[in-house]
């Protein structure tokens, strides 16, 4: 019953993004509106060119791709050769799998530990809560690049370098997301829990059976934000692994430039295959993802 209202207040501005009914007042096709559509279209075309050019290149033969006369329609026709070669090498599927399970693990661990601590900060009065809160908020400003040197050394002494744990563990701390979750929990009416407390339910039970089900939209938003960040992270996985079996997509792609050299069609085919999973997910969950980014975006990064 309270869910829809809760969602709207907490997701705030983000919620209205999904709303297609825009203000009906200003809809006359004036010169200004036509100009606006034209400008929006020009920008959209500019923004699609890199995708289009990569796609055209990927479907060319290597000879056509490297021809000095640049063509959108290659003289010897389009071909799947580049994609076939990339699949034969087998790297892209392996890297995709590595990215998938490390990002999923990062997202899962982040969600569990962040939601737990956020609940404590929102609902439980315990000694030292204010200090904890301040420390977590302050840590938002720590830029990840500053940590790479000591983290690498730490992983080295823990013997974790060249394991998936080295990629996963340092990426599960998202202080900003703790804050986003806490703010959401703060808005859930306490009366919902009081009845459960009367019945003698434990904190953990209240958390899992009352709070979490009400928090699905914010949990989804945080999950999306963390997952995209983990999926695309380059610097840390690049440092943490040398083992070619453990490379994630972004790191693996960095190695193909040297491997394929001037195989332009294969480079573009690999890049497109690497881009595909998130783009497809986006096409299906566009609303949720946009909402998620808009909700977490200003607090995050």
């Amino acid at each position: 019953m309270a869910t829809p209202t809760l969602t709207r207040t907490a997701a705030g501005s983000a919620q209205s993004l999904g709303n297609h009914k825009l203000r009906p007042v200003r809809k006359k096709p004036t010169i200004g509106r036509i100009a606006a559509v034209a400008l929006a279209a020009v920008i959209a075309v500019l923004w699609l060119i890199p995708f289009a050019w990569a796609t055209v290149t990927a479907f060319k033969s290597e000879t056509d791709a490297a021809a000095s006369k640049i063509s959108w329609v290659p003289p010897s026709g389009f071909t799947f050769d580049a994609f076939a070669k990339v699949f034969q090498d087998g790297n892209i599927p392996l890297w995709t799998w590595n990215s998938l399970y490390t990002s999923a693990a990062i997202t899962a661990i982040t969600l569990v530990i962040s939601a737990l601590v956020a609940y404590a900060l929102s609902r439980i009065d315990f000694k030292g809560k204010r200090v904890l809160m301040t420390v977590i908020i302050a840590s938002i400003i720590v830029p990840p690049p500053v940590l790479i040197i000591p983290l690498f050394y730490q992983m080295l002494s823990l013997n974790l370098i060249d394991t998936s744990w080295a990629i996963i563990l340092p990426q599960v701390i998202h202080p900003a997301m703790v804050f986003v979750l806490k703010r959401f929990f703060d808005q859930i009416p306490r009366e919902l829990e009081e009845a459960a407390v009367m019945d003698g339910a434990s904190r953990l039970r209240i958390f899992t059976q009352i709070i979490l089900p009400l928090s699905r939209p914010i949990l989804a938003a945080v999950a999306i934000f963390v997952f995209i960040g983990a999926w695309n992270n380059f610097l840390w996985p690049f440092i943490a692994t040398n083992d070619s079996n453990l490379l994630t997509l972004p790191v693996g792609l960095q190695t193909i430039k040297s491997a394929y050299g001037i195989q332009y069609a294969q480079n573009m085919a690999s890049a497109l295959l690497a881009a595909l999973p998130l783009i497809v997910v986006f096409l299906f969950f566009q609303r949720q993802i946009i909402k998620g980014i808009a909700t977490t975006g200003l607090a995050g990064t």
């Binding site: 203000r23 920008i43 404590a120 315990f126 730490q154 958390f207």
Partner: protein, 300 residues
């Protein structure tokens, strides 16, 4: 019931609260201490040592890494590159995002299509972006030079020209990440109460007038936030530079994060590299404090 049992009960429940509070916080705290607090402290300790990956000279050497860094022309050069990138990237990354959001907010048809095309690049890994743009910037076979020569302009060496390379990286970055700011702006715009616009159009204000007298003023706080977040994000630049130019030509694009990476992992000087990390951290800290002060003043 006597007052002693009451107070005992209260203290029991307080103990319980303490236990469950720290219990809920414990998993996060564990990761937080091991993978954030400890590296920060240990990194600072490292910066005071001559630690290297080859294991030589692990002893404390005081602040001499810092004195060396302050006299290191390469460090200043890379720091300068980072600041230069931050300045020239933040302006278009905020302005173009604003234009995109303002255009959509007029109520164009097929909203999802515009959103998709503006935002989709944000979903790509840096490596994909770098592959796309390195190919388009190719001096002989690239799309950009082909377009330039079609309109009769001279070819540009893009990533190979020290005067152009940083701008080439800004263009790629703009394409890649502007969608994020665009979404934040769009969310903020759609949050402006419709009554404002209704009242304005009753008063006869046109779309332009409404944009300048309602939308933009209402967006001022959002703009401050976006600018500050963008500065913080731009200061951390590394990926696309490392992938597209490796910091070249002639170090003209090498950002400070790459210098940290190189002194640590190519030069094996972990201690020195940690010291430069902390100088960089100081810079981030200044911007973050600015952000804190500004947002505090606004909410107060």
């Amino acid at each position: 019931m006597s007052s002693t049992t009451l107070s005992r009960r209260r203290s029991v429940s307080r103990t319980q609260s303490n236990i469950s509070g720290w219990g809920f916080a414990a998993p996060f705290l564990l990761f937080f201490l091991v993978f954030l607090v400890w590296p920060i402290l240990y990194g600072f300790y490292m910066s005071l040592t001559g630690k290297s990956l080859t294991g030589a000279n692990n002893g404390l050497i005081g602040f001499s890494n810092y004195t060396e860094a302050f006299g290191d022309a390469d460090m200043w050069h890379s720091l300068g590159n980072t600041l230069y990138f931050t300045v020239i990237s933040t302006v278009p990354l905020v302005l173009v995002a604003l234009v995109m959001a303002a255009l959509l907010n007029i109520g164009l048809p097929a909203q999802w299509l515009w959103r998709l095309s503006y935002f989709a690049p944000y979903l790509l890994a840096s490596t994909v972006v770098s592959l796309f743009f390195t190919w388009m910037y190719n001096p002989q076979l690239g799309l950009f030079n082909d377009m330039l020569s079609k309109v009769g302009l001279p070819k540009v060496a893009w990533l190979n020209d020290p005067n152009v390379a940083m701008w080439a990286i800004v263009i790629a970055t703009l394409w890649w990440t502007v969608g994020f700011n665009f979404l934040l702006y769009l969310a903020a715009m759609q949050n402006i109460p419709a009554q404002h616009y209704e009242a304005a159009s009753l008063d006869g204000a046109g779309a332009w007038r409404q944009l300048f007298s309602i939308t933009l003023p209402q967006l001022a706080p959002t703009t401050v936030m976006i600018v500050l977040l963008q500065i913080l994000a731009s200061l951390k630049i590394f990926d696309q530079v490392y992938q597209m130019t490796a910091g070249g030509p002639a170090g003209s694009t090498r950002p400070v994060v790459q210098y940290i990476f190189e002194t640590g992992f190519t030069g094996y000087r972990l201690g020195y590299s940690a010291a430069i990390s902390y100088i960089f951290f100081g810079l981030i800290l200044v911007v973050s404090i600015m952000q804190f002060v500004i947002t505090r003043r606004r909410s107060a």
